[in-house]
């Protein structure tokens, strides 16, 4: 019983935060800069609100079959928009680095292919005899797709780290929030058969945390990055001296 109460309150908090995020995106005109992310946020807001009304106020007016169909269609649209968000982060991150475009595109495509194959392997193994799906095949598809998404974000962070690319605050916030949500959701999906009751709560907490991160990174102004750690001549001379001694040992 208390799980349901927590779940409902988390849902309400999520709708409130999504409304705030939508308003922020519109007021700051970030929807023009990040069309996929804006579409994803707006879609999640509408989906959550409609589902909340249907679950708590209009339960009798819709059959279970229609409910499930609607739910999974919404999940598929959300996943497609999620891929759009990752692509948007990738494009914005590499916009300024023309020398990396060709390499990044090639590696990103290959990563996508490999991760899609891994997704199919996850799906195949989980669906094979002896591993009967416990919460519907669609959860397995979702698990496979989330694996691909998490892998692509992993690749993006590793690639940016390897080349020392500078993340703009808003892009970093979007990638961080989305990465956190899909990583925790992937864990929850994988462990759903062990923790069936807390699955929805974990998912809601992860999503609400991501909403807070998105709001924070969009609202806090980007700090200036002009101050640099200038070397002191004496330190450099000491360093060179130590180096020369080491070489001539």
């Amino acid at each position: 019983m208390w799980m349901r109460v927590i779940s409902r309150h988390l849902w309400e908090l999520g709708i409130f935060l999504q409304a705030l995020l939508t308003i922020t995106l519109l007021v700051k005109r970030s929807s023009r800069k990040f069309p996929f992310f804006a579409a994803y946020s707006f879609f999640c807001f509408v989906k959550s609100s409609v589902m909340y009304v249907l679950v708590f106020y209009k339960r009798q007016s819709i059959s279970l079959e229609h409910w499930m169909q609607g739910y999974w269609i919404a999940e598929v649209v959300g996943i497609i928009l999620g891929f759009g968000v990752i692509y948007e982060v990738f494009r914005k991150l590499l916009n300024s680095y023309s020398a990396l475009h060709a390499l990044a595109n090639a590696v990103f495509k290959w990563a996508f292919v490999v991760l899609t194959v891994l997704g199919f392997v996850v799906l195949y193994v989980q669906l094979s005899p002896g591993h009967a799906p416990d919460a519907g095949a669609m959860y397995l598809v979702e698990e496979a797709v989330r694996t691909t998404e998490v892998g692509l974000l992993l690749f993006l962070f590793l690639f940016a780290g390897a080349f020392g690319l500078h993340w703009r605050q808003s892009i970093f916030g979007i990638a961080l929030g989305f990465g956190l949500f899909i990583s925790i959701e992937l864990m929850a999906l994988t462990l759903r058969s062990y923790l069936p009751e807390s699955f929805n709560i974990v998912r809601s907490i992860a999503f609400n945390t991501s909403l807070l991160l998105w709001l924070g990174y969009l609202l806090i102004p980007e700090s200036a990055t002009q101050d640099r750690d200038m070397p002191k001549l004496a330190q450099l001379e000491q360093w060179n001296q130590a180096l020369m001694e080491l070489i001539h040992q």
């Binding site: 023309s98 698990e143 892998g151 390897a162 690319l165 990583s183 992937l186 002009q226 070397p231």
Partner: protein, 173 residues
């Protein structure tokens, strides 16, 4: 069960990486650290004639020990070059938005060169690691020193065009 463990490992790796990304962003909040580099010393370190001389003159075990030390120092230098290239990337990326077409064009060239250097640093790290593990190996050295020198010249040129932002960096690297 195996595939479940792999999927969980991917998710955990992603969370760990996000944590490190946030930490690294906080550490570098004031900009990438810039440290000066003695290119002459770096060239000396990369000189293969010295290595050949040592290989012929000292016993094998001593040579391996010396080579490993040398590689460890070279790696520090390559790390400095990579770090400076990242700082240059950050500065030049901002300069690309400059209203002056000449500054923007020069900044674009600097960005291209700095990204090439980052790539060369990765290759150099891989080669140096291989040589550290197997000191008898002698892999072709990366063309880091001349490319870095060219980057310095480009950043100096950018510094003369945009003295308030690029000049301090040009003198520091």
């Amino acid at each position: 069960m195996m595939i479940t463990m792999i999927v969980l490992a991917i998710a955990l790796c992603a969370i760990a990486l996000l944590y490190f990304a946030v930490r690294s962003r906080r550490i570098h909040a004031g900009g990438q650290p810039v440290r000066s580099l003695d290119l002459q010393a770096f060239r000396t370190l990369m000189d293969r004639d010295d290595e050949t001389f040592l290989r012929n003159k000292v016993p094998r075990w001593d040579f391996w020990r010396l080579k490993r030390r040398r590689i460890a120092v070279t790696m520090k230098y390559v790390g400095r070059i990579a770090s400076n290239a990242a700082a240059v990337l950050q500065m030049a990326e901002a300069a690309r938005q400059n209203a002056d077409a000449e500054v923007a064009e020069m900044a674009a060239q600097v960005v291209d060169m700095a990204t090439q250097i980052r790539m060369q640093c990765m290759v150099a790290f891989a080669k140096l690691t291989a040589e550290f593990l197997f000191p008898s190996l002698q892999l072709t050295p990366a063309m880091l020193a001349p490319t870095y020198q060219a980057l310095r010249e480009k950043v100096l040129r950018l510094g003369s065009l945009e003295p308030q932002n690029a000049a301090p960096l040009a003198t520091a690297i």
